[in-house]
Point group: D2
Chain length 384, copies 4
């Protein structure tokens, strides 16, 4: 399969801007087997959707995402809306025979995520593909980390240390938004940030969490409303949990919006019998790597600048030492999705991967409520 | 002035790819007063130009850059060719009434650069604008550095330390290319890398170099030709120079392609009576800042992640902590150029700025030959 | 009280060497009100004790520590033996009217630690002082961290992140020693490394842990014996736990000997409503400090080099920028202990502090066994 | 030769305190073949010398250094006075048959240094040894750097980048002291800081500077006197110079007391055909090392924590990861000097080494005056 593929995007806020840049750029750098045509963007307001189409480079606009499913010039639906709408849109799109790229977290509940994964399974039989947008897998340094683990360079994994630290709610006067409302957001830091580190840690290590012990907290229980008065915060401000993996590693996770001074510090460290890896999204072009086989006289963590031609994705861009940024991950994601669709293979991460992450988050919430170690559903053990 | 502006780009290699990404992206992030229309790309091979047009998003292709000057749908010529062709193309374009963006270094000699600056002066009288592409001025951290100096936060400047360290020629078996040929390239590390640090140091400090003392070297005098045999390297592998500025600072500069392990380390440190700044392009989203007024108990260099809404350019992109990459500088450059053209003002850096950098580089070569301190032409003093 | 004070040290291995250097150096830098006289060192082997006395600068040697308690020229007993002997020696010394400095952890069990704390309480009534050697409190950067918290610069504390990462057992062929034997060592990484981070985190924040949830692991269950064969490892290789503090913070702790490439990485990060602090013992002269009140344009974590005259302890040594090392902490400890004894006040950390740390470690072990959140004994709440 | 050796120290200020700590500590860690006996300290004031003896651990005090030369219990003179007195004391001591350790810079002029080197040559014939105190050679990381160069790990050296940055005179209100007086101090930053980096760069690379081009400056020409009024600063505040080495490398040097925020930043970077090294005294336990032979996928500068048993000097102290500080370098120096004396060999750096550094500094001053490239006396070439 080659030629063009029409893309229809639902939502045009933060994620919509990032995805648009990816569709606009992928052809210039990755020579994908399918050329994306930015056919239409959908939003609830016709006016704002039309403005977004102009600014972001979409050929047309729709005020109802369902219209995209009816259009013959759209073969791929890119879901960039908040989590509470993912299930409805993605399932409908798959049933309409459209490929789907859905932003993370896959859904706000395990039940919704399970329904989406089932829909993806049915669609696959008709050659229709589904992918969930854990974009950080495609930071070159993270992809290199996975490669090193897969090549055995780290050996048997003993420790995983994952944190996603932000600080935009540390100020008690920061206003109440839908993100602090459990109805809309599902959870707080856990679903927004925790989902990323669970997926990334599992992806890099090739191992899955089997059981967790968690604590969550809400430091600021009421926040001011823009219209005056206050509203009750019904989600977690921070979530911390310990975990065991199916490979026998001991892991710790922390997701918070209260780490003053940390803006976007997604950090992952992996210690194994043969080496170690460390990564920080605030220095996203770098991977720290320690090789335990080195002569102790010159051993040490190396700062690998992940911009060499043979580093994942990096060769498509610029010469060594020329850095990539945040939104490049979406371009990588688009390139891989187009390649999978053209090749008739399943893109990764799948909706089933998204469901598994959702199950980990659910176990975290259960453990935080009960104070007891909690097995992750479907992990096939007792989690300890 | 508002509406659209047709762009014609000459050259479609490394710089052409970077500029194309800028023209493609600027509208989605900066709401420029003029919308760039990617009208045509020119290259010496019709076939390759057409392929580049397809890949990079240009509406048409030309095999002779002069054709671009004749086209009514082109109002801006973007010169992305090697330095030995800049003067001819840029002067002709300005005389044809086209605005010009010209890659750095402005030219391979002071004479050519002077002719270009004169052409820009003449064109200005007809409302035609010219800009030279020292893109690193528009790294947000570098722009913030300039702002802090201009606000007086650094005080009286005593020291400037500038280095541009790469290592792609450190291997003696790296093949001979046009970049090692004085006829084509003008100079080696000096013009390629030294031009950047001279411009950036002067831009950030607001001061100009008045005299220099230099040493240059060619570590590998012969290199293998792809077709067999070897060729003599006629440019510098490295250039080091000391300088005085018109503000009384003592400065050191180093440009080299032999700094093993340094991939793209453009570093600038400025020490003043009230504070200090440090920057490294290999961590381009960061600025180190020391404020001498701080209580010594908690004083120290701060790692400022230059991704806040009120940082230069950063607010147009993503939330705090989400990094930008190398090519974003070209988008910033495009946005500022479009704003200047629309507003009827001169963009910076001007061709006169490019000429002044060329004069510094010429003084460096003179000093390296004579072993004596050398005054920069036009600096209005004896340089010591 | 002024003049001289005779010191008798028990044990002359790693800790004995470090303490000897402290007693030898404290007078030259801190002008303590009591001048320590290095009267005698005790060890089980008369020969080795005599050799240690010569090398380490002690005036005499004893082959039985009980002899030290009988000597009139010894007023202070410095206990540098393994943990399973601390209780017997320290209690006897206090009962003999000798001041005691006891290495950490205070004991191998809560019961022993409680007996020691009781003995210290009784001794205090006779003006006899007891101190436990959590030396890292006296790293200048850690002491500065505590000062900044106490001054309110960090505000209300939300997060504590503490890790003590080493790697000397990551190699499965590393031989079995007493440190892997529960009988001798009490526990593994938990007591050795975990005790340090529990004490330091509580000291810096001024808050205490009230409840924990833990997981521990032994990655290498058998290790080779020097004499051939193998022995079973009966202690933890790693211990991870989450905690709540009595100030409402959420905390995570990790102590491990399997963090490949991390040699002595005691790390502590504290996030509060007004600022943040970060410390790493592998860069022990530095404190990272973020002040949330800063203008966002120039805000960032500062690298404070903790070598200024008004930094804790630093002024007694060298000019700014001249680094201190590991063993300086013991000299600081000696200076503070001598000052307390001379002033008739209690030194800190007290044996009661050591007991409280022991109770936290016991709760960690209980939780690791049960999988349930566990309240720290004596913390006055349900720990959640 | 074994047994004891009596040491007499002249001067008891900053350097005297550091040397005293070395003599007090060396026996406990290095098992030197000669045991130093701290016999006497000399100072101009009998009272202050006696106080220093008490505090710093010397058995007696003298108010005239010449008395030390007459004492039979003194075999080694340790010269810790300002530079203008070095020649007289050291030459007299050598002629009296005493071994000499002399602080850097060896002297304030080439003539004095030459006289001292000649005296050392004469003394050597009688088995009397002389050493100059460039202590930074004995930072373990610097010693490791030299070892790696000597082993060929860096290959052919192309670049040396050396800086010694301090900021204690950046404040124009800092008072006038003897260090700003050419009569007393010889020079300013050049002799104080520049001497260190010239020696260290030559020591690490095994190459010598043959020619230099320099600029010096005095930013604050008058400074307040403690007694009121001001005095004219007659030394350099900063000195920058370029150099060629006898191995064909291009080097840059900078010594300044005006680098705001840099407290003791002695930095050295060496780039060679096979690798690179970087060091910063503000992180003195670390060496950055890049090995160009590494697979590019995992290549990068390694942070080597120079605390392993087989690292120079480190094994004598503490386990891996336990840091050393500034004054440890003096203990290493003492150990090596005692070993040389006992073994009947010449310690390094010799007075001849100190003289050669002085010649480089003289060439720097000549070049700064003339503006011309200047050959280093005795380097055997034209320096270009």
């Amino acid at each position: 399969m080659s030629g063009a593929i029409g893309v229809g995007m639902v939502g045009h806020a933060f994620m919509g801007r990032a995805h648009s840049q990816a569709w606009r750029s992928v052809g210039a750098f990755f020579a994908p087997p399918l050329t994306p045509v930015m056919a239409a963007v959908a939003g609830r307001s016709a006016e704002r959707a039309a403005a977004a189409a102009r600014t972001l480079g979409w050929a047309s606009a729709e005020s109802d995402w369902k219209r995209l499913l009816e259009r013959d010039d759209v073969q791929l639906i890119d879901v960039c809306t908040p989590g509470d709408t993912h299930a409805e849109i993605a399932v409908a799109a798959l049933e309409a025979g459209k490929h789907v790229l859905c932003e993370k977290p896959l859904a706000n509940s395990v039940a919704e995520a399970a329904a989406m994964a089932a829909a993806a399974d049915r669609a696959r039989e008709h050659g229709v593909r589904a992918m969930v947008g854990f974009n950080y897998r495609r930071v070159p340094a993270a992809a290199l980390a996975r490669r090193l683990v897969a090549e055995g360079r780290i050996g048997e994994i003993r420790h995983v240390r994952a944190q996603y630290l932000q600080d935009w709610l540390a100020d008690p006067d920061a206003p109440f938004t839908w993100r602090s409302d459990r109805e809309r957001a599902g959870s707080g830091a856990l679903g927004d940030l925790g989902a990323h580190i669970v997926d990334l840690a599992q992806h890099v290590t090739g191992q899955r969490l089997v059981g967790v012990s968690a604590v969550t907290g809400t430091f600021v229980p009421e926040r001011p409303l823009p219209e005056g008065g206050t509203a009750r915060v019904t989600v977690d401000d921070a979530a911390l949990f310990l975990a065991r993996t199916d490979g026998g590693a001991l892991a710790s996770f922390e997701a918070t919006r209260f780490a003053t001074g940390r803006k976007n510090a997604l950090r992952l460290e992996v210690n194994g019998s043969k080496g170690s890896l460390a990564f920080d999204l605030e220095s996203l072009n770098e991977l720290s790597f320690h090789d335990a086989a080195e002569d102790p006289a010159t051993a040490g963590f190396r700062r690998v600048l992940v911009t060499e031609p043979d580093h994942p994705y990096a060769g498509a861009w610029w010469p060594p030492g020329h850095l990539l940024g945040y939104e490049h991950t979406f371009t990588h994601q688009a390139a891989d999705l187009l390649t999978a669709i053209a090749g008739g293979t399943d893109p990764a991460p799948s909706f089933a991967d998204g469901l598994q992450v959702q199950r980990v988050l659910a176990a975290v919430e259960t453990s935080a409520d009960s104070g007891a170690w909690t097995t992750v559903e479907g992990s096939g053990g007792d989690g300890r």
